[in-house]
Amino acid sequence: MLKIKNLHAKVGDNEILKGLNLEVGPGEVHAIMGPNGSGKSTLAAVLAGREAYEVTEGEVELDGVNLLDLEATERAREGVFLAFQYPIEIPGVSNLNFMKAAINGKRSHCGLDPIKPKEFLAKVKECSSLVELDGRLRDRSVNEGFSGGEKKRNEIFQMAMLEPKLAVLDETDSGLDIDALRVVSKGVNKMRSKDRSFIVITHYQRLLNHIVPDFVHVLSDGKIVKSGGKELALELDEKGYDWLK
């Protein structure tokens, strides 16, 4: 599935990832934890192909495809989905039109005709119920005027619509109250399947009570310094990160 080997990346002159290795098998959920500034969000951005991040060394393969050769759009079409920590507002563009453009982009990439309106609407209905996203939010402009919780639910709605191979959740729990956290987690759990992998980036153990990971990794200073099972998250919650340095 996903193989990351010796990944180095920088923003400007600042090297942030310094030789990161990670393998994620099909259907697995990997949590990445670590202190502020350890490179968690950089990893998410690099996987998604954000231009400002320059990969200086290493390899990233998804199902044998070298992701680093692809533009952000192509990576998305190959099945990489990033749930943003801070979802972006696009005034005047309806959520549904946005999703239709996204789905049809992916379909054209796979040599398929644009999605039929009926099929699209059925899918919208199904996916929005997954995260209890009401019709009002679906029809409004992308993230415009959404509360923090609504934005995160919208991210998971989009993920469900696009059915990625690899979903990277970048601090999806930040800014969520406990009810919203439950809704979002429930949506993610329903999306878990044997051919879909997740990388869940978070600061806090509490998300992992809801989305139970198969593996937990600690990222520190641009490298993974410790890996373990879900119990590692509990240990981190108790002891903090300092003992790992």
């Binding site: 231009e51 759009t73 563009v93 996204a102 982009g105």
Partner: protein
Amino acid sequence: MMGQTEEEKLIDEVTAKSYEFGFTTDIDSDTIPPGLNEDVIRTISAKKDEPQWLLDWRLEAFRIWSEMEEPDWAHVNYPKLDLQAISYYSAPKKKVELGSLDEVDPELLKTMEKLGISIEEQKRLSGVAVDFVMDSVSVATSFKEKLGELGVIFCSLGEAIQEHPDLVRKYLGTVVPQRDNYYAALNSAVFTDGSFCYIPKGVRCPMELSTYFRINQAGTGQFERTLVIADEGSYVSYLEGCTAPQRDENQLHAAVVEIISMDEAEVKYSTVQNWYPGDAKGVGGVFNFVTKRGICHRAAKISWTQVETGSAVTWKYPSCILKGDDSIGEFFSVAVTNNMQQADTGTKMIHLGKRTRSTIISKGISSGYSQNSYRGLVQIHPGAENARNFSVCDSLLMTDTCGAHTFPYIEVKNPTAQVEHEATTSKIGEDQIFYCQQRGIEEEEAIGLIVKGYAKEVLNKLPMEFAVEAQKLLTISLEGSVG
């Protein structure tokens, strides 16, 4: 930053993109030699078989114009025009009475097809009556009979002068007088044709009236004149759209549009403007110096909606004189400038009557090295008790090399008035583009989506027939740029 490099690359791409509608039609034309003097005006008037009063009116305008100076207050820069080098009349030679489309010059039909506005299609599908103006003289007019039953007159101005001289004489120049400004005076002296529309009392015009203009003779200026009269309690939606073929020399377009909206009448006037903007280096392109103004009588309404993507230089302020009590003026505009284009556009809302209301929504989009200015005047006169104005004026920048400017003028002479003005300037966000890309949307499509979203408030005001074309134009105009 890498984003910067990407942007530069895209700017290069758009500069390489040529004008989509850059083709010319080979039709025999009857063109008079270049130059402007009283004899030329007499020739135009004689060729059009005009009554004496109109010739006198033209000559008066010419004398006024001869004493005027070309204005230079607009935020635009262009070489001085040699108005003596322009031919002031050009009409297709084969002017015959057209009984059906079969009689239309096949070349002309082909042109219309290229523009995607085949009259047949229009007739059959959309219920739009098309008055197709090519080089100043109307060639084909449809739907006349149906409109005739309702008493609606929709024809070329030349025809109206022959068939309805009293109406023309009564209203011509009443909203935009000959001495209004330099270009209006020039237009009054030399206008060759244009459109005329009269909606009788209480009639709701059942179809959108549509005119497509097209400059097609190298070196001919186009001086259209449009007169729309909506009698008491009537309603009309009027569409004006244009594309021009590619030219190397600058072409002058100095049109005048006058609207009279009588008591309780409503006129919607929508424009999609796509004159040739010149090449990436700013060579060629149309100079679009237009005077558009309407007058509203009691409880009347005029809405101007415009999507401006073309022309090398645009100078245009569709305005409303809110003379009658309770009258309403609206202005909705999207102006796109790219490469070396310059636009100075906006509106004037002149509040004279009590409880008059006006709304201005202006959306500027600038790319390349272009300059895009909004210039608006809101004037509340002493008698305009409880007048209200609301203005929103937004600018979207696609590159670091373009310019957006706002020149709002507000003059309030009545203490009961309420005037609000909001303005924003934003740069198209790399974050927004990346967000779209991450969802599998190509960069260009992403930019199209974002820009359409930005302009949506205005695009929604366009009639359906136009909205599609306008969206297409926005995308074409910005395709390959950072937009």
